[in-house]
Amino acid sequence: MPKIECHNLTKVFWIRNQSFEAIKDLNFEVDSGELVAVVGKTGCGKSTTLNVLLGLERPTHGRLAIDGKEPYKDFDFFRGKLSAVFQTDRLLPWRTVLQNATYGLEILHFPQQERVKKARYWLEKVGLTHFENAYPHELSGGMRQRVGIARAFSIDPEVLLCDEAFGHLDEVTARQLRDDFLNLIRETKKTSVFITHDIDEALELGERVLVLGKPARLLMNVQVPPATKENPTKQAEIKSRIIQAIESDGTRKE
């Protein structure tokens, strides 16, 4: 059975009595331990899909289940099972780096000593050992995002969800973080969904890439085996197919 099942998912927002479809009949599956990247245009409903996955938004129609349970309906079932890394770091400014990294563990009632031990382990993994007593405003954007990654991994979740996690970092920093992040995911073999609007990033990270149209629905489902990642021509070919799919989706609509 797949870890994540999304079946005919539809999300409709109401803005001043006007309905607006952010997701329309979206179908996909993610296997346990798989790393799937999701690409799509700006505003196509990627973040909304992630919020449904996190149980923060209720699906209007259809069903989205992780381990057979719905994150919104069975909200508390997912205690300690999910983690997210967002586009902005979402660190709490009144907590130090270490305290931010222990935030999830504290919510899950881990004892103090274990919290600190686990958080330190992950801070070391992301290279922030010497900054545990700093406040977020004292760090660079890249370092703050690293704290966010440590916070997400610290609770050892079953599913890791990322929304443009490196989206507003500079190219070089983003590349570095992406590599480190990929290593952590491979090491821990977590089921992960990585949302991005950057096709190159999707092809680099994902073992499989889901291409979304607007409103969000599945346009393409591309396998990206390791051999393809090493082969620039093959990669460029896939990229142009993805761009074509997204573009033709746009022209069909207008």
């Binding site: 508390d76 999910l82 997210a84 967002f86 009144w94 919510i107 405003h137």
Partner: protein, 257 residues
Amino acid sequence: MDGEPLPKRRALNIEMVISLGALLLSWQVASLFLPEYVLPGFQLIFQEFLKMAQERTLFWDTLLTLYRILRGLITGFIVGALFGVVMGTVKKTEHYLMPIVNFIMGVPALSWTLIVILWFRGTETRILVLMLAISFPVFAHSVLDAIKGVSKEWMEMTLVFRPTRGQVFRMLILPSIVPHVLTAWKVTVGFAVRVVIVAELVGASTGVGFRMLQQQSLLNMSGVLAWTLVLVVSGLGMQSLISMVESRLLRWRPTLS
């Protein structure tokens, strides 16, 4: 919540010494040319302080007034925070409670002073209710605004971990409303000092306000001024106390330097 940086405060700066010094000097010079019931010189005001200290009123009445302010504001804070938290966390309650809060806030402090004198007999009850009436709406508003202002992004980040309601309140809402609550305290303390004096003037036989009235009926300008100084210093003292608490609690804020 906005992380508006606060400039670092220094207890004494040279500009302050100069401007206050100039004010005091011109006062002293003017006092040489004007009668003492208009502008008494420092030596007279100082003598007044000595007298007040000897009669022990300086210590006890000041303490009493401060105690009245503090007790009233703490009560007002508890009631106001309760209102704010309920309005901010229980759906629809804002529609019912806010009109009441706003109505009470709309009644002028002077009207409250007269009302409590007619309603209650004991001095302490009168002043407590007065302080409560003028302060709790301010606290209710600031707590409500602060709760509404808790970042949606932080809330979502927190909810991913599936916290209990209590955890959300303790770990997210409480720390993010602290700065707003401290600001509300600074505002109300200044306000309370002014109001408590009026209440003591018209309805008490102790406290700084009453002593001031006494001196005025004796036509003793130096006495009135000495007690006024006590008030100014107490007000500023309480405010800088809050600032100290603020800089301790809000160490995490970026500072301008």
